[in-house]
């Protein structure tokens, strides 16, 4: 036993590095607050319209204004097409009933959010997982169409949003978001990144 210990000791000394032992951990004591700059882009689908399939690309840029509060702009571009029931509804034109289903083309909102911190974990010492709940609201304009290929007009609208943000990598991760405005309610997911 003594021989093995001596051999191990000589080996450690021969490395000429400080003797090290135990498992080292770093305690993250940084104050939790909203990221200084935050970007996200993702896909969302309308969940409130029975007659249309609305597929959207949503992009959001936020800047922290104070601790948990951020503000910025949210842009949404939407591709509209009739759903199965929408097509059936539209076929009623054959019997002389003209049907128009209003939709949206794109929208731009101011977007202010409050970042409710939920938690941060070190998962199996393999990757950090941070989960945030973000609630937001704002106002803006929607470029709406009176039908899928109809005439366009402007519509002023409110915006609300609730988002679950997960960080799998240091400053990036996935999000799931539900957002609503006068033209519909959208459920989406995508990628986001923080810059502090």
């Amino acid at each position: 036993m003594m021989f093995i210990t001596t051999l191990a000791t000589l080996f450690l000394i021969s490395l000429e590095e400080p003797v090290s032992y135990g498992d080292l951990y770093f305690e993250d004591t940084k104050d939790r607050e909203a990221p200084l700059v935050h970007f996200k882009v993702g896909y969302s689908q309308d969940i409130s319209n029975s007659f249309l399939d609305l597929h959207s690309i949503v992009a959001d840029a936020q800047v922290r204004v104070w601790r948990y509060f951020s503000t910025g702009a949210l842009f949404q571009w939407t591709h509209s097409q009739y759903s199965q029931s929408g097509r059936a509804f539209r076929d009623l034109s054959a019997v002389g009933l003209v049907v128009k289903v209003p939709t949206q083309q794109w929208a731009l909102f101011s977007h202010t959010t409050v970042d409710f911190m939920i938690g941060q974990w070190n998962v199996l010492n393999m990757f950090p997982l941070r989960v945030d709940l973000i609630v937001g609201g704002g106002a803006g304009a929607i470029r709406s169409l009176d039908d899928v290929n109809g005439a366009s007009s402007w519509k002023i609208s409110y915006l609300w949003s609730a988002e679950q943000r997960m960080m799998f990598y240091k400053n990036a991760g996935l999000y799931v978001q539900i957002l609503g405005h006068r033209a519909g309610t959208h459920l989406g997911a995508g990628l986001h990144a923080n810059f502090d």
């Binding site: 003797v19 090290s20 135990g22 080292l24 770093f26 305690e27 004591t29």
Partner: protein, 188 residues
Amino acid sequence: MPVLTWVLAFTPTSTEAAPGLDLFEQNLQLAETDADKALEFFREIPQSSDRFRIATEESMKILYRTEHWPEFFAYAQYYRRRWPTTAKGEGMDVLELLGLLRHCQTLPLHALLSEYRARWPKSKLPILDQITSLSELHFKGKAGDKTKELKPFQDHLEARVLWKGKEEWYTKAHPKQLRVKVANECSN
């Protein structure tokens, strides 16, 4: 026991903070009576401060005395890297040896003993001999209280996050942010 006498020799003796002293000196005096408060103060001393070394030493003493081992071993390893030229056999080195001894961590203990034996003056070698002798003893009850070991789950509940660390963090991070989990190899 000479080793214990040696340890007691560098613990503060005053029991109350005296007026007229600055905050740092007051906390030096408070270290024995209100260790938590003093430790909280010393932990906040920045690495750039002239008094950072003294604050680190005082923190180590408090952590050793209060048996906060994960923090103590982090401070000890940080201290040895930050101020490696303690060729005179300073108290902090002995404190680390005693901490390892109390955890029956024979391998790193003997590695450090060999290193110090080569560097320390002859007058200090009896201390190392005593620690070497103690490390070869096997007796019951050496394990002590294990209640202050690292508890990751409790840390999570208290919103503290522990990341698996890298060796380089000993030179980059403030020691207050480091924890070293050292298994207690002693038998109860």
